[in-house]
């Protein structure tokens, strides 16, 4: 796979420490506990929204640390942003239709 030079580019860069990964994992488990706690509180209208927010924080932790998005180039970050923006647009546009149907 040497020909894909870009991928190996980070070989010389500092390796993420095992401690960081374990800390991220602990944080993920903490948020798992938190989300279950929030669900059991049974907050009427905002409960699900809060849990989706917590899920997004968890997904962000996985993206930035486990998938080391933090140390990736700007191009990839923009591409990921475009992908998320496309998905958000699809969902919003669909809802703009569904919510106003009679």
């Amino acid at each position: 796979m040497e020909k894909y030079g870009g991928q190996e580019r980070a070989a010389g860069a500092a390796l993420p420490s095992n401690g960081t990964y374990v800390a991220v994992w602990a944080a993920l488990l903490f948020f798992l506990g938190l989300t279950i706690f929030v669900a059991r509180l049974g907050i009427p209208s905002f409960g699900v929204a809060i849990n989706l927010l917590i899920a997004t924080v968890k997904a962000g932790l996985v993206l930035v640390f486990f998938m080391h998005l933090g140390s990736e180039g700007r191009f990839l970050k923009i591409m990921l942003g475009v992908a998320f923006a496309a998905l958000t647009a699809i969902i919003l546009l669909t809802f703009s239709d569904v919510m106003f149907r009679r």
């Binding site: 190996e8 990964y21 798992l32 989300t35 669900a39 968890k58 993206l63 809802f95 919510m99």
Partner: protein, 185 residues
């Protein structure tokens, strides 16, 4: 690999869209149907998958440091945790099917429309997710082989790295599936 993950994002995104529209239309039915989910098994499975992601991340770092044996051990841990996840998923599905809740099942058809849709989405989305876990396990098994042979090492770790990206993505999908199916009662 990232580009493949973008297509995967929209693949699962389509189903999340379907879920959110039907949840909007049948909010009460969705809440009632979600009470059928086993919160304990779902939570344990979430923890298992998060831990498997940790093992995968550690496996990549170990390979980059040239710690072959450690890397293989962590990869095998990831495979093991993924397998446990699938077994628990299987137990959940078996419990539902045993009670007549499966596509076209006798009990399912007696439920309200919104509940039928909820279980349809549940089987489709967790089923496709489980398929991704299965594919991930298979690919990691190949990576174990490559690492043993020295094809993957400190200078050549792209394959393992990309496998890791895929595995973490599958983890992220579950991070969203869990609150949507288990935590909306």
């Amino acid at each position: 690999m990232w580009f493949f993950l973008f297509t995967e994002l929209l693949f699962f995104g389509g189903m999340f869209l379907l879920y959110s529209i039907y949840r909007y239309k049948f909010a009460a039915d969705f809440h009632r149907a979600a009470a059928d989910e086993n919160l304990v098994l779902g939570s344990v499975n979430t923890a298992i998958l998060l831990t498997s992601s940790l093992a995968m991340a550690l496996a990549v770092t170990a390979a980059r440091r040239g710690e072959t044996r450690r890397s293989i051990a962590f990869q095998l841990t990831t495979i093991g945790l993924g397998a446990i996840f699938l077994v628990i998923k299987g137990v959940e599905w078996a419990a539902k099917i045993g009670r007549g809740i499966y596509p076209n099942g006798p009990v399912l058809l007696g439920l309200k429309n919104g509940e039928i849709i909820f279980f349809g989405l549940y089987f489709t989305m967790t089923g496709l997710h489980a398929l991704h876990v299965l594919i991930g396990i298979t690919v990691i098994a190949f990576m174990v082989r490559y690492t043993k042979r020295g094809v993957i090492g400190p200078q050549r770790y792209s394959r393992l790295e990309n496998t890791g990206l895929y595995w973490h993505f599958v983890d992220i999908v579950w991070i969203y599936l869990f609150p949507l199916f288990y935590l909306i009662t």
